[in-house]
């Protein structure tokens, strides 16, 4: 078979399998155009495609299953008789066995090692270690009894047999409170401490090795066993023990994962993981997949989660129902709010200290760990929480709550503490309301100063206000240490303002500080905690860290849904942001669900006719816009405008925003004239409210520029983009991401005019800004890669264009997922470059993939689907597959007609290339009707002098020339030369 035939087979086969089964044969017959051999070959391939294949449907190594050989009951191993199999693990099997040499009847657990290692070596190690292990006599450590080698040469060990269940199961089954769990856990730690003093490290602590018997006694299994089974690749054993995906080394420390030295600190780390699990019901990681890479990354590189956050986690590894926060709280006999409160602060800090990545930064000795746990239970300061004076003072007051009232000495002490600790003291003594009021006054006062710097309120004078803000942030860092609530609130506010200014690097520490402060507060202001979570979530959201943003939003929502009606606005805000996030991720259904939840909350509270309600409606409409549901989107925007006009009037920011959004929608819908007037109305309001140089105006100018571009007014588009850029530079500073957006747009329009040098310079500047602000894996950075790829294509540098677009596709797949709209856009751009490179197969498959993607998202009637068909038609034509080409081009035109309005240039292009194709095939009447249609449309919307109109006229002239209609030919030739 030659290359050519194969390419043909490929193209027909791939198209055929996209069709329903009953349509395939007819299609193949048509596509093969009488080539019987080809037809038979393809039909055979299609039938193979439908039938299973024993080898190819698996992997090279599958099914080479080696017999699991377990021992039958009654089997004798030296002095032991097997009674029953208890379990199998990676290293071998564990049996219940009985000592049968008559001395005394003792039931033991017998562990048979089947790992193919050198059994003599294992045994000799065992004999060395045994002396030490035999010394471990502790009521909570199962004793190691004996060891030997079977007649097959497999080493085995016997241990005290423990009839119990893993510690976390025991705790949950008995619904132990946090305090009871901690007491039990301290027993575990005591046993480990005993072993550490005897210089034995466990190395494999996990719930499965920590059993609790029916009488509530803790027993640690397998102490020291791991050591003499270990060879150069300890972790490999763990990972491959039960097949890679079945079991994960969730409890191993980073140094163990990396194969570095194992110390007592490694046991402390494992205990930290177990403690997190016992407290919050989840391990301290978020695992989005079961892959080893994800786990290694989580253990070695990602910061561990606090139990109070982990509580709300949904891990891939845990079943959703079991790990719901509700259930976790119920099993600890608490409400979610109470559980979160109890975990926040000391317990969080204790776990985090045990879970530090660097062994030397964990608890140095297990005694310290135990002390902290005991101190927590006794309400004494814990070392993990640091030793700030106020912290200790707070502990003191709480501990001596009763004494405060009775003892004069204590009162005296308290008097000296007041200056350090007003707020906390007030709480303790029930004067909270008064002090809280004071605090909120401070908050409001400072907030009002700082808010000036928010571009939404500063009327464009953000740059000078920035200095004020920076000063505030600096002072905040040094002052107010004695008033954590106020400090937390201010950090949140300033953080939010920095977010809005696009100064994310400055926002981060403040928002994190605010959340930490609020988390540490004993009598936590939960509403504030939730706000901090939302704000930090917003920060991550803006930076494209979607997973982190999502978990923060959800954590905030979990809190806010339990709060009273006065916090409804906060709640709705978070719901809106979560919806927005889902929208960004292309998860439209989920987005809609969250928005609707927000609407429902507001409706339940009675007053749907307010700004928040209109904002949410606006968001839903934006979502529908993105989904190309133009009609319902338009209805909602108009409804929003109606409400806003009633509630806040015509000349208001919100009203203007909704006009703007409606304008964008109408633009995409093809209603250019109304779109233009909506944008102008928005501009008019904004100019009146904000003056001529406010950054908000830049949005409107940008949108108008895009509209101009679609309408073929390239000059005015360029001018509008330059205007937007200039506004953003002066109002937001040179390094704001929005400056980069304007540069990007400008580069695009310059590229269209062939001004590549300036375009590339714009891109470069934009890239520097975005790289600095967001980093190189942010969606906005990827967008630049994508745009630059398209620019290079236009410039004719196809090699670099391909490189960039391949990168854009891969990055977007990673960031947004493989079936996201934006991934699809990049794919189409790449397909087009392949097309230019005449890489037909690659181009064709890229278009197929893109068509698929868009079809799944939006249905067939979408311009991108239409575009894919049209382009594939051109490819088929290039490859001389004319029948296929005709049917694809035809479908393309059909889909354009159902997805865009007749004034849309994309439809014209679809018609034009189909007409051109028909002309080449000498199908004159078909070509004429297509080209005539384009010509009329172009003439109507662009006029006769437009370049595209002229091109169509030339083609029509050629058509009539070819078909012998001299008169008409002349007519179009004249038209094509019409005045420039």
């Amino acid at each position: 078979m030659n290359q050519n035939t194969w390419d043909k087979i490929e193209s027909i086969f791939k198209s055929a399998i996209e069709l329903p089964i009953d349509k395939r044969e007819a299609f193949v017959q048509e596509a093969c155009a009488g080539n019987d051999e080809l037809y038979r070959e393809i039909m055979q391939l299609l039938s193979e495609d439908d039938s299973p294949h024993s080898m190819l449907d698996g992997h090279a190594l599958d099914g080479i299953a080696l017999a699991p050989d377990t021992l039958a009951p009654g089997t004798q191993i030296e002095n032991y008789r097997i009674i029953a199999l208890i379990g199998t693990g990676g290293m071998g099997a564990v049996y219940l066995a009985e000592r049968s040499d008559g001395e005394f009847k003792q039931q033991v657990a017998l562990k048979l090692i089947k790992n193919g290692r050198n059994s003599r070596e294992v045994l000799s190690r065992f004999r060395n270690e045994r002396q030490i292990l035999a010394r471990l006599e502790h009521p909570n450590i199962a004793r190691l009894l004996d060891g030997g080698v079977t007649t097959n040469g497999d080493p085995y060990f016997t241990m005290e047999y423990v009839d119990g269940e893993p510690i976390h199961c025991y705790c949950d089954r008995n619904q132990l409170s946090i305090e009871d769990r901690l007491s039990l856990f301290i027993e575990v730690c005591e046993a480990v401490r005993y072993a550490h003093r005897n210089l034995v490290i466990h190395r494999d602590l996990k719930p499965g090795n920590i059993m609790v018997t029916g009488s509530g006694e803790v027993k640690l299994l397998d102490f020291g066993i791991a050591k003499f089974l270990e060879s150069d690749d300890a972790i490999m054993q763990t990972i491959t023990q039960a097949g890679l995906m079945a079991m994960t080394p969730e409890y191993a420390s980073p140094e163990q994962i990396r194969g570095e030295a194992v110390t007592t600190a490694s046991d402390i780390y494992s205990l930290g993981v177990i403690l997190s699990l016992l407290l919050s019901g989840n391990p301290p990681y978020r695992l989005d997949s079961h892959s080893v890479a994800a786990l290694v990354d989580a253990v070695c590189h990602t910061d561990p989660l606090k139990p109070s956050t982990g509580l709300f986690l949904k891990n891939a590894s845990t079943k959703a129902t079991e790990s719901s926060p509700e259930n976790t709280a119920r099993l600890r006999q608490l409400s979610i709010t109470r559980l979160k409160q109890q975990l926040s602060g000391d317990l969080d800090n204790i776990c985090l200290k045990a879970l530090r990545k660097e062994p030397e930064r964990r608890y140095q000795y297990i005694d310290e760990f135990i002390n902290d746990l005991r101190n927590y239970l006794d309400d004494k300061p814990v070392s993990a929480s640091g030793d700030a004076f106020q912290y200790r003072a707070g502990k003191f007051i709480r501990r001596h709550r009763l004494a405060v009232i009775s003892s004069a000495m204590t009162l005296l002490l308290l008097a000296t503490l007041i200056s350090f600790y007003t707020i906390r003291l007030a709480e303790e003594r029930d004067r909270a309301r008064l002090e809280a009021q004071k605090a909120s006054q401070i908050t409001e006062f400072l907030t009002s100063i700082f808010a000036i710097s928010d571009p939404n309120q500063s009327r464009g004078e953000a740059v000078t206000a920035r200095e004020l803000l920076d000063e505030g942030a600096k002072r905040l860092d040094q002052e107010l240490t004695s008033q954590p609530e106020v400090k937390a609130a201010l950090s949140e506010v300033i953080g939010r303002v920095y977010n809005n200014l696009g100064l994310y690097a400055r926002a981060k520490p403040l928002l994190e500080k605010s959340l930490t402060l609020r988390n540490n507060e004993a009598a936590a202001d939960i509403a504030g905690t939730a706000r901090s979570m939302q704000a930090l979530g917003e920060y991550h959201h803006m930076l494209g860290n979607f997973a982190q943003a999502e978990s923060l939003y959800i954590a905030a929502i979990e809190i806010q849904k339990t709060l009273e009606a006065s916090h409804t606005d906060d709640y709705v805000t978070t719901l809106n942001f979560l919806g927005w996030l889902k929208n960004d991720l292309g998860e439209y259904d989920a987005a809609e669900t969250w928005y609707n939840k927000g609407l429902a909350v507001m409706e339940a509270n009675g007053a749907p006719e307010n700004v928040a309600y209109a904002t949410t409606i606006n968001n839903v409409a934006l979502l529908l816009h993105e989904k190309n549901d133009y009609e319902p989107a338009e209805k909602l925007f108009r409804k929003g405008i109606k409400i806003l006009r009633r509630v806040v009037g015509e000349e208001h920011q919100e009203t203007s925003t909704t006009y703007f959004n409606l304008g964008q929608l109408l633009r995409d819908k093809g209603d250019f004239v109304t779109a233009d007037s909506m944008l102008r109305q928005s501009l008019y309001i904004d100019q009146k409210l904000l003056g001529d140089d406010h950054p908000t105006l830049a949005y409107t100018f940008t949108s108008m520029a895009q509209l101009s571009e679609i309408m073929g007014r390239v000059d005015s588009s360029e001018a509008l983009h330059r205007r937007a850029l200039q506004i953003r530079r002066t109002s937001l500073g040179e390094e704001h991401p929005k400056v980069a957006y304007s540069l990007t747009h400008l580069a695009g329009i310059l590229g269209r005019q062939g001004e590549f040098t300036e375009a590339e310079a714009c891109f470069q500047e934009a890239e520097t800004i975005i790289g600095k602000v967001y980093g190189e894996s942010h969606p906005e950075y990827v967008k630049l890669v994508y745009y630059q790829g398209m620019l290079l294509q236009r410039k004719g540098d196809l090699r670099r264009a391909e490189e960039l677009l391949v990168r854009a596709v891969a990055l977007r797949s990673k960031v947004f997922g493989k079936s996201h709209r934006l991934t699809g856009n990049a794919l189409i751009a790449l397909a087009s470059v392949y097309h230019d490179q005449k890489q037909w197969v690659k181009s064709d498959s890229a278009y197929i993939a893109a068509a698929h993607l868009f079809q799944n998202l939006f249905g067939e009637a979408h311009p991108a689907v239409a575009e894919s068909y049209t382009q594939r038609g051109l490819i088929a034509g290039e490859r001389d597959d004319f029948q296929l080409a005709d049917s694809l081009l035809n479908t393309g035109v059909k889909l354009f007609r159902s997805s865009v309005k007749e004034n849309n240039p994309r439809l014209w292009n679809g018609l034009f290339v189909y007409g051109e194709f028909c002309l080449q095939r000498n199908e004159f009447s078909k070509a004429e009707s297509l080209l005539q249609e384009v010509f009329s449309l172009q003439k109507q919307h662009r006029g006769l002098t437009d370049e595209k109109t002229r091109q169509t006229a030339i083609l029509l002239g050629r058509l009539h020339e070819k078909s012998g209609n001299v008169e008409k030919a002349k007519e179009f030739q004249d038209l094509s030369k019409a005045d420039h």
């Binding site: 391939l45 190594l61 080479i64 299953a65 493989k818 498959s845």
Partner: protein, 192 residues
């Protein structure tokens, strides 16, 4: 530890590969081949009874063992998997050849294999047929042959393959279906 030297070298080479240096691939291949072979050998010769062998697990194990994860990015990782798939193909083909030779020569079977391994016995010849068919496919379309190699011998997911080849997942899926159908036909044509 014997791996350390290897690990350093492999990790270093992987980070250089990003520049598309073919020379580097040639240097990496024997290193990855060696590492993979030791792991595969242990599995193939039944040193871990009681488990179903798993291609994906094996290649990932090799990755964890041979590469210092701190120093590689995802592109490097993709390259590693691609090379490992090719190494895996060679290892298994050698293995199958060896077993075939033993069979023809009437020599002793590998002693540690028990009945359960007969499936593998039957497979080893089919594996050789597949190898030949795959070589033919690569002369028709190299990318499609690569897809088969990565998936069947390397246990890579479509997503990983797409990442490695720099194409979309649907492309991989379509390539796979075509290649699978064709190989399936080819293997049917050769008598079993």
């Amino acid at each position: 530890m014997e791996w350390d030297g290897h690990q350093k070298e492999i990790t270093r080479l992987l980070s250089e590969i990003s520049d598309g240096n073919r020379e580097v691939v040639n240097q990496l291949m024997p290193l990855i081949y060696d590492g993979l072979q030791q792991i595969a050998h242990r599995q193939l010769y039944g040193e871990r009874p009681g488990h179903t062998l798993n291609t994906t697990a094996l290649v990932h194990e090799a990755y964890l063992k041979l590469v210092n994860q701190k120093n590689v990015n995802w592109q490097n990782r993709a390259h590693f998997f691609a090379i490992a798939s090719q190494a895996m193909r060679r290892i298994l083909i050698n293995y199958a050849n060896q077993r075939n030779a033993q069979k023809r020569g009437g020599g002793a079977m590998v002693a540690t294999f028990d009945e359960a391994a007969f499936g593998a016995e039957w497979r080893s010849e089919r594996l050789l047929d597949l190898d030949e068919a795959l070589t033919r496919l690569s002369s028709l379309n190299e990318r499609q042959a690569n897809v088969v190699e990565y998936r069947f011998f390397g246990g890579l997911t479509h997503e990983e393959i797409a990442e490695t080849l720099g194409v979309s997942i649907p492309t991989v899926r379509l390539d796979w279906r075509l290649a699978r159908a064709w190989l399936s036909k080819e293997l049917r044509d050769t008598p079993e």
